[in-house]
C-alpha cells in the first residue's frame, strides 16, 4: 500500500471518472429548441430568465432533501415545512427592520435580505436538529416509517406555524429596489428573478466546492458510497449525518425565503404545495444527486415556462410529462447515484 502511495505515477493513473455530459446538454438544447416556437427573441429571453429563476428557487428548496437522501437514505416528507418555516422566519427580521425595506438604497435592501436569509437558516437549522433527533432518528432504515413519521411531523409543524403566526396568509412586500424590472432594449427581466438566479448559482457553486474540494465534502461523498467504511475508519458518521440534516434544513429555509418573497404572501401550506415540484425534480435528477437536482430543477422550470407560454392548458401537466419521459429514458433519474 505505502509503496503505491509513495509512487506519484500510480496516483496519476487512477481512472478518471467520466462526466456524463448527455443530461447536461439537454438544458441548452431545450432552450434553443424553444426559440423558433416562441418566435420573438425578447420574449424568449424573458421566458428563459424567468425559467432559470424558478429553477434556481426549486433547486434551493430541493437540494437539501436530495443531499439528506443521498447520505442518510432518509426521505423527509416533512421537508416542505422547513420551506414554510424559513419563509415565516423572515418576519422576525422584517418586523423590527421594516424601515430598511422601504429605503431606496440597494445595499440596505440587500443587507435586509441577507439578514432574512441568515435568520431563516438559523431557525430552520435549529428546528432541523430537533426534528432529526425527535422525529427521524428512531426510524433510520425503514422507508415506510420515515414517510409516515415525517408526514406526522409535517402535520404537527404546520399546525404549530398556524398556532404561532395565525392561520391567515401574511403579505410580505419585496424590498424597494428589488421591485420592477431591468429593461435592456426590448428585453424585460424582473430584478428579483435575476437576484434569485444569482443566489441559486452561488449556492450551487458553493455546494459543489464544498462537496468536491474540502475534507468534509470528501467524507460526505464517502458516506454516500459506504457509511460503514467511513465509520470503520474512525469518523463519527452520526455527527456527519446530523450536520448534513441541519444543512439540508437550512438550505430549505433559504429556499423558503426566496420563494416567500417571490410569492409575496406567506401561508403555512406553501412549502407542501411546492414539495410536489421538489419531488419531481429530485426524481428526475436521480435521488441523492446534487448536480442532477440542479439540472432537473432548471429543466422542469424551463419546460413549464415555455409550455405555459405556448399552450397554457398543457402547462398544468408538463412537469409530469417531463418526469415520465426522463424515467422512461433513465429509470433511476438523470444522474443515478451508485447505491450500496
Amino acid at each position: 500500500m505505502s509503496d503505491l502511495a509513495a509512487d506519484p505515477s500510480a496516483v496519476a493513473e487512477l481512472p478518471r471518472t467520466k462526466t456524463d455530459w448527455l443530461p447536461l446538454a439537454i438544458v441548452p438544447a431545450l432552450a434553443l429548441a424553444a426559440l423558433p416556437f416562441v418566435g420573438e427573441p425578447s420574449s424568449w429571453v424573458t421566458l428563459t430568465v424567468a425559467g432559470l429563476a424558478m429553477g434556481m428557487m426549486i433547486f434551493l428548496m430541493a437540494s437539501g432533501l436530495t443531499l439528506v437522501f443521498g447520505l442518510m437514505d432518509i426521505i423527509n416528507f416533512g421537508h416542505g415545512v422547513f420551506i414554510s418555516l424559513g419563509a415565516y422566519a423572515t418576519l422576525l427580521v422584517l418586523g423590527p427592520l421594516a424601515g430598511w425595506a422601504q429605503a431606496e438604497s440597494v445595499w440596505l435592501n440587500l443587507a435586509l435580505l441577507m439578514l432574512c436569509i441568515l435568520a431563516a437558516m438559523a431557525v430552520t437549522g435549529i428546528v432541523g436538529a430537533v426534528f432529526e433527533r425527535v422525529i427521524v432518528r428512531p426510524v433510520y432504515g425503514s422507508h415506510l416509517k420515515q414517510i409516515l413519521v415525517t408526514m406526522g411531523g409535517l402535520i404537527v409543524a404546520e399546525q404549530a406555524i398556524h398556532a404561532i403566526w395565525g392561520a391567515s396568509p401574511i403579505p410580505i412586500p419585496l424590498p424597494e429596489t428589488l421591485r420592477g424590472a431591468f429593461i435592456l432594449g426590448d428585453v424585460v427581466m424582473e430584478r428579483y428573478r435575476v437576484f434569485a438566479v444569482a443566489v441559486g448559482l452561488a449556492v450551487f457553486v458553493a455546494m459543489q466546492l464544498i462537496l468536491n474540494r474540502t475534507r468534509i465534502g470528501l467524507l460526505i461523498r464517502a458516506g454516500v458510497e459506504n457509511p460503514e467504511m467511513v465509520e470503520a475508519l474512525g469518523y463519527r458518521i452520526r455527527r456527519l449525518f446530523v450536520s448534513v440534516f441541519v444543512a439540508g434544513s437550512a438550505l430549505a429555509g433559504l429556499g423558503g425565503v426566496m420563494w416567500g418573497f417571490y410569492r409575496q404572501t406567506l401561508t403555512a401550506g406553501m412549502g407542501m404545495e411546492v414539495m410536489v415540484l421538489v419531488f419531481i425534480v429530485i426524481i428526475i435528477g436521480g435521488l441523492g444527486s446534487v448536480g442532477g437536482c440542479f439540472v432537473g430543477s432548471i429543466l422542469v422550470a424551463l419546460v413549464a415556462n415555455y409550455v405555459g407560454f405556448l399552450a397554457p392548458k398543457l402547462a398544468l401537466i408538463s412537469n409530469i410529462l417531463v418526469m415520465a419521459l426522463v424515467l422512461i429514458w433513465r429509470p433511476q433519474g438523470l444522474f443515478p447515484v451508485a447505491r450500496r
Binding site: 409516515l148 408526514m151 406526522g152 404537527v156 398556532a163 426524481i283
Partner: protein, 376 residues
Amino acid sequence: MTATSAPTGLPFDETTPRKGALQTILSSDLPRSKVLSFILLAILLVLAATPFLFSGSQPISTAAKICVFIVLVASYDLLLGYSGIVSFAHTMFFGIGGYGVAIALERLGATWTSVGLGLAAALGSSAVLAVAIGLLSLRVRAIFFSMITLAVASAVAVLASQLSDITGGEDGLSFQLPHALRPAFRLLSEPFLGTVVNGRILAYYLLFFVALGTFLLLLRIVNSPFGRVLQAIRENEFRAEALGYRVVAYRTVASVISALAATVAGALMALWLRYNGPDTTLSFSIMIDILLMVVIGGMGTMYGAVIGATLFVLAQSYLQVLMEAGSTALSGIPVLPNLIHPDRWLLWLGALFIVSVYAFPGGIVGRLRQGRSSQA
C-alpha cells in the same frame, strides 16, 4: 408488529376446517379480542340503526361519512398495511369515483343508468391510471411510488379545478339523484318506528350495504393466498421474488384493487352529498386524514380501518366542541389557548399519529389484540 407477527398462529393455519357462517363472512379473520369484537359490533349496530336511533340530519350525515371512510381507509390499508407501499394518490381515485357519478348524473339525467355508467367509467379510468402509475414507478424502488403518486395526484387535482367545463372547477357539481333516493320519495306511507322512511334513508342504507359489502370483500382479498403473497412481499421483497412471485405484478394488482375500492367510496360520497367538488374528494387534506385514520386505527388489520375512520370522523365532528370549551377556559394565557383552539385539532391528532407509528405500530387494533394475548 402487525397481524402477521401476532403470537397466535391460528388465523393463518389454513388446514383447520372453516366452521360457522361468521367464519365464512369474515374470511376466518376474526377480531381476536373481546373488547375489539364488542366495539366492532357496537359500531356495526349503531351504523345499521342510525336513522332510527337519532333524529336530525347531523347524526345520519356523520354515520354516512363513517361508512364511506371505512371503505376508503380499508382500501388504503390494503396498500399501506398489507403491501407496505405508501401512495398519496388515494384521494385521486376517491375523486374519480365522485366525479364519475357526478358528471354522469348531471349530463345524462337523474337515472340509475347514469349512476351505473358513471361508476363504470370511473372504475375504468381508475384502473388504467393505477396500472400506469404502478408500472412507471413500482419497477424501480417503492419510494418512487410515494413521490410519483404525490405528483400525479396533484396534477389531477389541478386539472379538475381548471377544466371547469367538465368538472365545474372549484365550485364542483351539484346534481339530482334518481327518484328513489330523493327526500320526497316515500317507501312506506306510514312512519316505521317513529321515522318516516324516505329516499334519504334509502340512500343511507344503499351506502351502508355497499360499504359493508366492499369491506367484507377487501377482508376476503387480504386473507386470500393473494393477500398472503402481498404480506410476504412487505416483509421481505427479495425473498418473495426469489420464491418466484413477481413482485411488481403483485404490487400493481394490489394498487389497482385499492384504487377500485376507493373509486366506489368516492361514488358513494357523491351520491350522499348530491354534490362533488375538489374539496370534498380530491384535496390533499383528505389524504392526510386517511393516513391518520389508517395508522391510528392500526395498519395491516382491516378492522383498524373501521376503528380509525369511526374515531376520526367522530373527532372531526365533535372534538372541536370540546376544544372550544378548553380554549375559552384558558383564555388570557399566551399561545396556550392557540394550541387548543378548535381549529388546531389536527395538531393533536398529528402528535397522536407520530406516537402511534413509534409506540403502537399496530395502532388501536394491535394494542387491543396484544392485551388479549398477554392475558391468554
